[in-house]
């Protein structure tokens, strides 16, 4: 039973059409899979669906202006497709499948979308976490191309239309780690370490805040939280991380902001996150 109530459902003819509708119609929202939106008690005027816009495929390209060889993941790619895609499996060192295969169930992953997960910017999002660790870029109709890291740091509401997520296509080594209190439940804390052709990135999420990079951040001064003036200093890892570098990454994770919610308290998360960072780097480096 859908909780969400809305007046009008529109199938956009193109991403540009969706963008114009979104900007012009007050109270309108883009629907991804609808898995999260159905729980919303907010009243929405118009729901805009880009299901007819050809955004449900993962395509390999060789002339990406940033990555060269890249995978363009359409915003309407389901989490199940994300889980099973062979190109993405190689490009993520298996972390894409590992990150999503505990999300609720196959049926849920057959309807939830990458775009919905990314635009939702949920703190617990395993999808945002693994894409952040892969150094993903996003393509919006209005804003154009921006790094996922910047999008996650931005607190402003998004009134734009996401069309693609772009990641390097070259094979990577990566590891996804998480703690869940129950199988298929939200992660209590999650970490992904990835060594791509762009170098190392290590992300910590479900803090319960949004995923942040503790290694490989492009933000000045490291991954700063608005609520944490100290921030986590920018750490880099060499191709074969030394023990000191791993320690620095763990220390960086410890300095992130953690909070308490019904799943776990801040102290637990702060205790466990550095452990997962270490495990993720060690596994990815093997």
């Amino acid at each position: 039973m859908v909780v969400l109530r809305f007046g009008t459902y529109v199938r956009a003819k193109s991403p540009q059409d969706a963008y114009e509708l979104l900007r012009s119609k007050k109270g309108s929202r883009i629907v991804g899979g609808g898995g999260w939106m159905r729980l919303s008690r907010r009243s929405v005027g118009t729901v805009i669906d880009l299901g007819d816009c050809g955004l449900d495929a993962i395509n390999l390209t060789h002339d990406d202006p940033v990555f060269g060889d890249a995978l363009r993941i359409g915003a309407y790619v389901t989490l199940r497709s994300f889980e099973l895609d062979e190109h993405l499996d190689r490009a993520s060192g298996g972390a894409a499948a590992a990150a999503v295969h505990d999300i609720v169930g196959v049926q849920f992953r057959n309807l939830a979308t990458v775009g919905g997960s990314v635009c939702g910017r949920f703190g617990f999002s395993d999808v945002c976490l693994v894409l952040l660790a892969l150094g993903a870029h996003l393509e919006f109709v209005g804003a154009g191309r921006i790094p996922l890291e910047a999008f996650l740091m931005d607190k402003a509401t998004c009134r734009d239309v996401l069309t693609h997520v772009i990641v390097p296509a070259a094979p990577a080594q990566a590891s996804y780690q998480a703690v869940r209190r129950q199988a298929t439940d939200f992660p209590v804390i999650n970490v992904c370490a990835a060594h791509t052709c762009q170098g190392w990135r290590v992300a910590v999420g479900a803090r319960p805040g949004r995923p942040r990079l503790v290694v490989g951040s492009a933000q000045e001064g490291g991954a700063q939280d608005a609520s944490n003036s100290q921030g986590a200093p920018c750490v880099t890892l060499t191709d074969a991380p030394t023990a000191d570098e791993v320690e620095a990454a763990c220390a960086s994770a410890q300095r992130l902001t953690y909070s308490t919610n019904m799943l776990a308290d801040a102290a637990y998360r702060q205790e466990v996150a550095p452990v997962l960072v270490r495990r993720a780097i060690e596994e990815a480096a093997r």
Binding site: R5, Y9, L39, D49, R80, V106, F108
Partner: protein
């Protein structure tokens, strides 16, 4: 708004409110096998196939199935018979409320396997989105192992080749 789609092989056209869920629509169309067990997209009871893929009908907007192919258990009576017999023989259901969703998911899994015999872990992972309050899943696992020709598990968890994996399920008339 008007939508038109294939429901269990039959062209179906209806007028719906824009925010109708597929779950609500299917039950209005008489597909009472589709149940709601949670209202948070977690239990799997409302599983139906859309273009052959299992999805949670509670979380799909009915408007989205316009032009698509929807299958419920009502449309799989023949295909589900053999597995239903396995479930009956293994006492797989108690209240039965989760069963239609389970059957839809097992049959979808079987199609994806394309003849391959899975491991217990693969079965559990694929069925992680189908919750059951009654059984603890042991009887369902026995039914699934029998149906998919997997080795049966004894009390210690050790598996052995299923004795009658090659024997087809008996005719329905024999089962009480």
């Amino acid at each position: 708004m008007n939508i038109s789609f294939m429901l269990n092989g039959k062209r179906t056209t209806c007028e719906i409110a824009a925010d109708t869920s597929l779950f609500e629509l299917l039950r209005k169309q008489g597909c009472m096998s589709v149940k709601c067990g949670c209202e948070t997209s977690n239990c799997g009871l409302c599983t139906v196939w859309i273009d052959g893929k299992p999805q949670l009908s509670c979380s799909v907007l009915a408007a989205r199935v316009d032009g698509r192919d929807v299958t419920t258990l009502e449309g799989l009576q023949e295909e589900s018979h053999a597995f239903a017999v396995c479930m009956a023989e293994e006492g797989a259901e108690q209240c039965g409320f989760c069963s239609p969703g389970l059957v839809m998911t097992v049959l979808a899994f079987e199609r994806e396997l394309a003849g391959r015999v899975p491991s217990d872990d693969e079965v559990r992972r694929y069925l992680a989105g189908n919750l059951c309050r009654c059984t603890g899943y042991m009887s369902q696992m026995r039914a699934i192992r029998r149906y998919l020709g997997m080795p049966s598990a004894d009390a210690s968890g050790a598996t052995s080749p299923h004795q009658d994996a090659a024997v087809p399920a008996p005719a329905n008339e024999e089962v009480a």
